[in-house]
Amino acid sequence: MIQALWQFEFLQNAFLAGVLIGIIAPLLGVFIVVRRQALIADALSHITLAGIAASLLIGKYSSFWQGINPVYMGMAFSAAGSLFIEQLRKVYKHFEELAIPITLSGGIGLGVVFLSLADGFNSDLFNYLFGSVIAISRSDLVAVAVITVVVLVVVTLLYKELFFLSFDEEHAVVSGIRGKSIQFIFILLVAFVIAVSMQIVGVLLVSALMTLPVAASIRIAKGFKQTIGLSILFGELAVLGGLVLAYYLDIAPGGTIVLLSALILVAVLLFKRLKQRKS
């Protein structure tokens, strides 16, 4: 496999993109999970699909547009979707969770209609729903790399504010932290990360990369920083292990990555139980 990795550019793209997404998806996932917004990733990934489909549709009529990576349109839709969710939350103050199914079903409906108009229903749809590692191009990789740098810089700079807001939003605002602006920046980051991650694991599985590693680490970590560290470690194990397994067993990489994350989670839960029994 090492030899093939040197030989084939698409394998390099897949592995490098995987390494980067294995860092940023669980990193943002920690903040999402502790705020009990785990499902937001699902809603945004479905909106991203609508964006990608819209881009394919425009590309059908404009040859200029064909040169533009559909992932950017996906990001734009995802960002707009994140603002839409925030708005819906305000409208349905007492039913905040409604924002998720509204956005999710709206996104998939829009995406499916756009795709059918663009005649991409057969092959493309499958790729977007379940991910397609082989299709990751150099320009996709560049997009992932840029987003990774942005996420790492912003989270480092705003770490203490994000941490405080996640722990106790009301108190953080009383202490003079600008909750709204920071929440806005954060949700934009989430939208971008989802847009770039879905190429590897697909619309249906992207939220797993943000939540499963966190679900595992939260059980055994001491402190918040350790939770982040372990989440990234589990995320990397799942992505890299999943890609290698998929290569040798010739199975779908997206699904393999998610199953591996679930296995890690089960292993951690068993480990925790054994430890509790001993003490």
């Binding site: 203490k160 108190h171 202490s175 932290i177 680490s217 001491k222 918040f224």
Partner: protein, 258 residues
């Protein structure tokens, strides 16, 4: 009250939703070094008053001065420590260590894009030492008892070295033994560390022997003054205020001890 520095000064505050008055013409001030108990039954407007002090709600009438500055001009919120009632109902599964929770208290003092230095780490340990929780600094906050958690939240409020600590129903959900330890800690912080305290509670019976000043709120201010005067404020008045009979414990003051 005029001879010492005033930390918080409320003048003629009124707040209403439509015709429904939540606060009616409230005037009172908190002098430096005082331990003020703001008492009132549920729904008396205590929480609204706290929100007005923090500038989260704007009163329709009256104004708030903090350290002599109008509230909209005041920005140094690290001078005011806050311990909320919500601290008891935070998500107890949250994966944060005691050290991390206390360092949250430095967030606004540090400001955006600044990182903790070793002096800040020392400040966190000092604050934990002060509330007797330093040995737990690497434990997860969710693994502690309610009383211990509340001490940690006091440390979080103290770490930025505030001049005043505002506590909103801090003992809700804390067992009786821990509550009495907790009041002892507050008394110590007030006497030995010179921290001004504003304690908001519905529990009038247990605090009169701890505080130096009492303010009774039920939409309007029914009493405001030093604790000694409050004890002469007759039982009859107090029953009218609470709507039922309340017995105020009498205690010996003036020896400086609790």
């Amino acid at each position: 009250m005029t001879n010492s520095n005033t930390i918080i000064d409320l003048q003629n505050i009124s707040f209403h939703y439509g015709d429904d008055y939540v606060l009616d013409d409230i005037t009172f001030s908190i002098p430096e070094g005082a331990f003020v108990g703001l008492v009132g039954p549920n729904g008396s407007g205590k929480s609204t008053l706290i929100k007005i002090i923090f500038g989260l709600l704007k009163p329709q009438k009256g104004y708030v001065n903090i350290f002599g500055q109008r509230i909209n001009k005041f920005h140094d919120w690290s001078k005011i420590g806050y311990v909320s009632q919500k601290a008891n109902s935070f998500n107890s599964g949250f994966p944060a260590s005691v050290f991390e929770v206390v360092s949250m208290g430095l967030t606004s003092k540090l400001g955006l894009f600044k990182f903790m230095k070793s002096s800040h780490r020392d400040a966190v340990h000092d604050a934990l030492q002060l509330v007797g929780m330093n040995e737990y600094s690497s434990s997860n906050i969710g693994d502690l008892s309610g009383g211990q958690q509340q001490r940690v939240f006091i440390a979080r409020a103290l770490v930025s070295n505030p001049d005043i600590l505002i506590l909103d129903e801090p003992t809700v959900g804390v067992d009786a033994n821990s509550t009495s330890d907790f009041y002892q800690l507050l008394g110590k912080l007030n006497r030995d560390n010179g921290i001004t305290l504003l304690l908001v509670t519905h529990d009038i019976g247990t605090i009169t022997d701890k505080v130096t000043h009492v303010a009774c709120l039920n939409r309007s201010l029914h009493f405001h003054g030093e604790t000694e005067e409050f004890e002469q404020f007759s039982d009859r008045d107090l029953s009218g205020f609470y709507g039922h009979h309340v017995h105020v414990l009498s205690h010996d003051h003036g020896h400086g001890g609790v």
